[in-house]
Symmetry: C2
Subunit: 420 residues, 2 copies
């Protein structure tokens, strides 16, 4: 694969992870085990997580259950799994999916290389799905390859932005109190309607909280509660903290969570999630230089300008080919579409525009190939006038275009040769 005339090239991806996404994640999380000791004087417990993912997504108003709705072409649940997998001290992740979605879920696990996942069949309600997940972890189950954890996290498949920090907090609190859950301030006042749909009374907002996820429990506390609870609870309840209180007499410790814990519920939440993910993965850019000597100055000017819009890393490569191979080998593009922009400086007085363009037009063919590997390749010609003022104007426009391509990450515009 050859990218036309040599020039600078810049891929955009979650930067420092070029050294291997999974490796970096594991390294970042490995030290957290010791944080248990530092934070709460507890030893690190054996932890598993259960994700009920049997929902039908009625409120979303779309036929696909919301946990399978695509964000940048990847299903929402895969982002949530990634967030949990990143935490090395979570040993097992049990996902409860309906029978009809079992194959879909297996496909997702394979395609996005998820690890430590076990699937169980979802029940007809959220509580029944969680119970099925817990049963798979209980040691009294025959042929169970999973071991019973000390603490179990319960999380939602549709809360993809959960951070290790809050997981650690609820697990630590569950070790101490038996149960714990994340809470958030109420956004709206809560009111109680009368039978004729009139206001009966409103609650004082400051005295109440929204119960969110994740929650964590000593395994025996929540498993005992589920074993005792009534069919009515399993059918109509949703709140695990309530079961722990009612049947195991444990008052859960409540932990203030961040706004990131919100649940993808409506279509607008999918839009919000996509924008947040795009913003996060667009924070770091890698600029690769392979400029002729007289262009080197210009290349560095561009880099300086990009730094004002994006965080930029620089490395040196002899060939664009090597870069593209590296992107592919890093497995980055398995999880996110990676933007690669091949930047060419054009002194249009010395080479006729048409001739230069026809040569660089080859990029369209490369882009088609790269798209198959989830790499979004575009070309950018930056005019290279001798006059300093005009040159800076060209570079400024180039920066704007690069930022737009990285931030929008729209596969409809691949293979184009843009001009600044």
């Amino acid at each position: 694969m050859e990218l036309g005339p040599p020039g600078g090239s810049g891929p955009a991806e979650p930067g420092p992870r070029l050294r291997g996404l999974r490796g970096a994640d594991a390294a970042a999380s490995a030290s957290s085990l010791s944080r248990f000791g530092a934070e709460a004087g507890c030893r690190a417990p054996a932890v598993a997580a259960v994700l009920p993912a049997g929902g039908s997504g009625e409120r979303m108003g779309v036929p696909t259950p919301k946990q399978f709705c695509p964000i940048l072409e990847r299903p929402l649940i895969s982002y949530t799994l990634q967030a949990l997998e990143r935490v090395s001290w979570i040993k097992d992740i049990i996902v409860a999916v309906t029978r009809e979605n079992m194959e879909t879920m297996k496909g997702i696990i394979q395609r996005y290389q998820h690890k430590r996942i076990s699937l169980v069949e979802a029940g007809v309600t959220r509580h029944r799905s969680i119970f099925n997940g817990l049963k798979a972890l209980a040691e009294d189950q025959p042929n169970c390859r999973l071991s019973k954890p000390e603490v179990v996290i319960i999380h939602d498949a549709v809360r993809p932005f959960v951070e290790e920090d809050v997981l650690l907090k609820v697990v630590t609190a569950a070790q101490e109190h038996g149960a714990s859950g994340a809470i958030r301030p109420l956004v709206s006042t809560v009111i109680s309607p009368s039978a004729d749909s009139c206001l009966d009374h409103s609650l004082e907002r400051a005295r109440y909280r929204a119960s969110e996820m994740p929650q964590a429990f000593l395994f025996d506390v929540i498993y005992d509660a589920y074993q005792q609870c009534s069919d009515y609870d399993l059918e109509f309840g949703t709140e695990c903290l309530h079961l722990a209180l009612k049947y195991s007499h444990i008052k859960a410790k409540l932990v203030e969570g961040s706004p990131d814990l919100w649940k993808v519920t409506y279509k607008r939440d999918l839009y919000a999630a996509e924008s947040i993910i795009k913003e996060r993965i667009s924070q770091k850019v890698c600029v690769v230089m392979d400029t002729k000597e007289d262009e080197e100055h210009v290349g560095h000017c561009l880099e300086e300008m990009l730094k004002t819009e994006l965080n930029v890393m620089t490395s040196d490569f002899e060939e664009t080919q090597r870069l593209l191979n590296m992107v592919e080998e890093s497995n980055l593009s398995i999880l996110y579409p990676v933007v690669v922009i091949s930047v060419h400086f054009l002194d249009y007085e010395s080479v006729p525009l048409g001739q230069k363009m026809e040569k660089v037009m080859q990029i369209r063919e490369f882009a088609k190939e790269a798209k198959k590997r989830n790499i979004l390749l575009s070309g950018l010609l930056i005019y290279f006038p001798q006059e300093e003022q005009k040159l800076r104007e060209s570079l400024r426009q180039g920066t704007t275009i690069i930022s737009a391509l990285i931030k929008e990450r729209n596969s409809g515009l691949i293979g184009q040769l843009l001009v600044a």
Copy 2:
């Protein structure tokens, strides 16, 4: 203004409003007055609206108060004002803004040509701001140019997607019951924490609702309530329905609202709002044809393909110039960035690519001018091979590019000549 060689050109905007945005809005809403009679057997009351907009946007985590945060470069509150102005039977709209934002707000009203707006100074709390708005409407105020309405709507500046339908419902219910408010199901379980941050009890989710906006009141009911209420209420309360109950002994009628009523609270809500607005204004596309005879077939093929991705209107124009003037005259681009894509069919065997391109490159200069008028102009070259299969492939790619440009609406990519 000339757009290079003649070719098809397509602007994207909220379609049917080309005949004049305000005119169309007024026409759509005028008939609604009579709906009062049909829906509830009531005569049409005099209605005003009060918008408290004095908030500081703490929860957003950004320095700009959220009502002034830009969406497609226009402040959020302008979208909310537009939604209320569209309803012709709302006679006056009172906005309460802090003294330091008064000039900003005047600038917004002027720039986006809002009508029927009066400004009052916000108080230090939401309740005090609403009270100030009501005072401006009360007839006992000296030098008041506003007349006292029968019914007053209270809405939030940060709920831009309110529809006439729900406004009509709360106003009609307020006429009958004295007070009314929109409600939504709770997304999260609500819990009551004990003093030591442990779970005290959780509420049965089905028995409670989230109180949202808009709300409506007989003016005397809510004004009397505010005149009687304590400083404690004004400082720490937020819920108008509660004041109507406590001081005027009116049990508000609760009306189920749509998910659209949600309040822009966090940064993610701004992302969601932007995506929703982009989606709405991208629903209709106007295709303008000015093709030579041998290209006419191709033009129609493109149109058919666009129809599968977008709603398409067709009109005929002799000149692109006339189209651009029309977009400007329609005032469409005052409220939204309008995407115009100049499409050229290229038989690249008969004309050398370079020559054709240099000519069409003029589009960059036009685009700079158009941007000043909030028109995002791009060019698109579609290859025109004789072979049917290849032609359809070119058109398909053209459709993808057009859709991407319209949906992203990114000003960073204007003036580019894209190739399909």
